[in-house]
Amino acid sequence: MKQAIRNAKVYQQHTGEFLPQTILVDGERISGILAPDESLPECLHIDGTNMFLTPGLIDTFSQIGLKETGIRWEGNDGYEPLAESGSHLQVIDGVYPFDKAFKDAVAFGVTTAHIASSPESVIGAKTAVLHTHGITVDEMALNPEFGFSFSLGDIPKRAFFEQTKTPLTRMGIAQKVRLALQVLQHSGNHQKRPFFFRTHRADDIVTAVRIAEETKIPLVLVHATEFRFIKNIPYDKAFSVIAGPCFQPMERGELVHLDPSLYRTLAEQNIPFTFATDHPVSSITHLQMEACLALKAGVDEQLILNGLTRDAAKLLQIDHLTGSIEEGLYADLVLWNKHPLELTARPVQTFIKGKEVYREE
């Protein structure tokens, strides 16, 4: 099917502006970008006048579908307590596509999510990158086996104690991670896969950096709550941060210093970062609100909008498929009623692979 989204203000990732354009979609892909006055081919027309068009937003760290909305253990597949190491598991085997949260995702412009284990697991299952709409995970998958996730700090400590009634220290956690990395490196199973480290406290951030340096793995820090306390990160290799979510319940000591100024600190230090909800820690519906909090904290608008889209796609190695409005990429698009960084903005229509997956009532 051919469609044209006409005359919306389209996000320009190279300049940060919104310019009136018409986007052509052929089947699953974007097939052309026209100036507003150019004549249109015969196809279904969607009027985008006075609306804003962005690529679909990408939640770069989430448990959506893995921890189901509205029930407790029955719908929780985020943590396999008795597994010594989770790296033989895959999150894709635990995701429920009919979780209400996927409907919320598309209603708030999130078309792709990177799904990882809950923070209780020191060594998480293999992560997956999925579209947020579909009947089976297989048809949703952009990459069914992506990276490895690790979790440092209070949560795995407490979870281990509750399971085994024996304590686990931060030293013990670091050893578990080192051991798992050795096994993965021996098996050659880690080639080109990124390593995601959930960390909040400054010492845990530095431990993640230390381990990455020892083992020469590409490091992605997740959360990085106390990043501003670290003056000089002793790691010269490029690394990136999946920051936040800065909006979440505050029930643990590790979160006492959580503040959206995190985004400004990262921007000031020129460290590449993207956004995440860690749904259901925050809600998938608040990915755009995290971006608003970054703007409030003083981060540049273009950096923020790219962090929600193109930069997130690059981090997840799917930028050849989605994350930008470019000919040949999937038509993962969101039409907004207002500028997408207004706190009260909402999607009017959301498309995944050219298919309308949400329309405002």
Binding site: G70, P249, M250, L255, S283, K296, E342, L343, T344
Partner: protein, 387 residues
Amino acid sequence: MNKVFRGATIYTMDEDNSILENANLWVENGKITKIDINTNIPNDIEIINVDGQVITPGLIDIHTHVGIWGEVNEETNDACEYSSPFTPLMDAIDGINHNHFSFELARKGGVTTVQTGTGSANPIGGVWSILKTAGDTVEEMLLMERSGLKGALGENPKNVFGQSYHKSPYTRMAVAHLIRKGFLEASTLSKGERNKQLEIRTELSPFIEVLEGKMPLHLHCHRADDIATAIRIAKEFNVKLCLEHCTEGHLMLDAIKESGASVTLGPFMLPAAKYETRNLTPEAPKLFHEAGIPFAIMTDHPFIPIQHLILCAVEAVKYGLDETTALRSITCEAAKLVGISDRVGSIEQGKDADFVIWSHHPFMTRSNLLTTYINGQKVYEREGVEV
């Protein structure tokens, strides 16, 4: 000390929701003495230039656990007395750490008054208090020491006592019975017997205070049947009821309106984590407003951190509530519902000088909170700002 804040746009949140442009706010001895436009200001008065900025009343959150939950670990958490499901003698002020960082977060978020106290594990939990969020002792911060008896219906008491501790209550019936029990016993007493109970502060004394209309009954309820049970119990004993959370209230608006109960909505910004909250919707404030039922919006801190109260109001706007009602629900309406509107909740002559100065209208993304004032004293200032 006489001060004038000159040149701001003031959202007074008075009865008419008056908005004054380029206005002056006069403050003396911790009170608001005048709000006017274009008057000459005498030389001996300190002028604070807030030209182009926005002033709102200090925000009010009437359902929180500020200062009592701890937010760090069990050692610092004094919110639920788990030793028994029936603990009417637990007074919030004995559990509140006035020096706790959550008060600082409140000031940072422009929240100048909170109602705080026991959590929702106990069918009868204890007595809540209303406090300003700055002060050197709890006593100094108190606006109302005994602001209501707090109880809870539904999953939380069932989970904590039935499922975890293997003792009563296991069912909703036993939860309701525990709440009713106190009122049943108290209501059979003669006036003299009541006074005796109050004097020696027995477990019946908070129930007597509620029966005599000295404070309301706050009941935590999510599911529609729990809301109906709360209304039923309040009606049986003819006591003033505040429905806390009221998550499925949007499914039974007529019944709630007829009951005349106060309503505090929230937290509605996080995914439902349990079965009884699965019909949670941020549309609730809009639906209550359309039904003509007044309400306040809460954070339930630490479940939504207190500094984000303003974002809860914005979320309601995002889902269709008008901006004025949203702002009222965290200022004057909240004050009215708990009976403190003679002191706080609006910017009017004679009220406490509790207000917030913002760079832009607080619902705008680019808006930053600049300073917070309580009783005319600056209690928070954003880094890099000098007002």
